[in-house]
Amino acid sequence: MIDVRNLYKRYHGPFGGDWVLKDVNFVIPQGVSVGLIGRNGAGKSTLLKLLARMDTPDKGEIITNSKISWPIGLKGGFQGSMTGRQNVKFVARIHGGEDRMQQIIDYVEDFAEIGKAFDQPMKTYSSGMRSRLAFGLSLAFDFDVYISDEATAVGDTAFKKKAKKAFRDRIGKSSLIMVSHSVGILQDLCQAGIWLHQGQAIWFDQLDDAIAAYNESTNT
């Protein structure tokens, strides 16, 4: 369960400091996968960062006893000059996986299916290859909640099928909080929805209702 209470966040700096998130409240029950929707700049990535404890809120708190993954995204988290294998080793080590290193590497290699590219520098990867590796890597650890920031958006059909199956296998054990602009993948993987609109977060028990509300707001 993740309990978000009175969450406020803004970024200070030379470009102003309006509230990105303003008094955000919601509760994500155990095992429920949530899709975050909202227009560009609505604060989706900011909310994910706060949930992943990468950043601290200005006000309010996030109460949880779940193990939450790092935000699995397209940028960050990897060093381009190092190979996929070296990056996997690094992440495994900081998560205390030294003693089951081979198991983690095998799992990621198998999940990512990028062949020889696994031993080539990551700067040579396409965004699809990156997201395969990033997603597979996070699945190699047993988190309660996986946080995905558009990581699935660039994958092909086979990858989406794989991701779907991975979470179907983990139903009841782990859930997903994800941002994506492709409605299809959200409907495949998530049950509930959060619509971020003008700094507020509106919770929907059914993802379809959230998508409907979002579509309605963009049409008018």
């Binding site: 992943a52 990468m54 950043d55 960050g76 988290g77 990897f78 205390g96 650890f141």
Partner: protein, 261 residues
């Protein structure tokens, strides 16, 4: 996943970062390992050549010139490289702050540690090599040498921790800090013996903590060595601890700002 204590998490992060930084240093450019040993050797050769051509072979009380130079150069380099390499660590690793167990300060500490390990290996190789070609550089008081060496590294770490804040928040400061290292090289008694300077200059240089550490290390190497009056290893030691404390406090206080850069 097993529950890990905070200390275990930190140790895992340090280990992971250390392996990664070491890999990057070894395979970074074509020279890799060789350059690490070759650079100080080339530097020493150059300084000996300069001295020969100038034709002013001055007498250093209690030490031969080449051993004197090796100790001074390596002692200065461990300070300088620990400080300058670690100060740019936060910018270089900003992509990794996606993992919340990794704090900006970890990257600084690990870079300083890697630099310390590499420089220690190079220094030992140089000393052994110099002994083999018949130079008088066997340390008479090894404990004193080790303590002075560690003090220089701690100074580098302390300044690295503080500089890393400046460099991360105000990028331009990196150029100024790097430029300051050059005059510091001449003011620390690395190649120009401080004993030969005028008394009025010595009175100013005595405020330079690196000078104290270098001269202390030379006392550990050469039993007959005579430096200027007032050399005290306690001064750089205390300063390094103060800088480390200040650096750590700033790192805690400014953590979110450092991560946002």
């Amino acid at each position: 996943m097993k529950e890990r204590s905070s200390l275990q998490v930190t140790l895992h992060v340090w280990y992971a970062l250390f392996m990664r930084e070491a890999m990057a240093r070894m395979s970074g450019d074509r020279f890799g390992w060789t350059w690490m040993l070759l650079e100080p050797v080339a530097h020493i050769m150059l300084m000996i050549a300069v001295r020969e051509f100038m034709g002013r072979i001055r007498f250093i009380p209690g030490a031969d010139f080449i051993p004197y130079l090796i100790v001074g150069l390596m002692g200065f380099f461990i300070f300088r490289d620990a400080a300058t390499r670690s100060m740019s660590a936060i910018n270089a690793n900003s992509g990794l702050f996606a993992y919340r167990q990794l704090h900006p300060v970890d990257t600084v500490i690990v870079r300083a540690a890697l630099e310390g390990v590499l420089k220690t290996i190079v220094f030992m190789l140089l000393v052994v090599g110099a002994v083999f070609i018949g130079l008088n550089i066997v340390p008479m008081d090894p404990l004193r040498v080790i303590i002075a060496w560690l003090t220089l590294w701690l100074l580098g770490l302390g300044f690295g921790l503080v500089f890393s804040i400046a460099v991360t928040l105000v990028q331009e400061s990196e150029k100024i800090i790097r430029m300051m290292m050059f005059p510091l090289y001449f003011l620390s008694g690395v190649i120009i013996p401080v004993q030969l300077m005028p008394h009025s200059v010595q009175q100013v240089l005595i405020y330079n903590p690196i000078l104290h550490a270098l001269e202390s290390m030379r006392y550990g190497f050469f039993p007959a060595y005579r430096s200027i009056h007032g050399i005290e290893l306690m001064y750089p030691m205390a300063l390094s601890l103060g800088m480390i404390l200040l650096g750590l406090m700033l790192q805690v206080r400014l953590k979110t700002k450092l991560m946002a850069q």
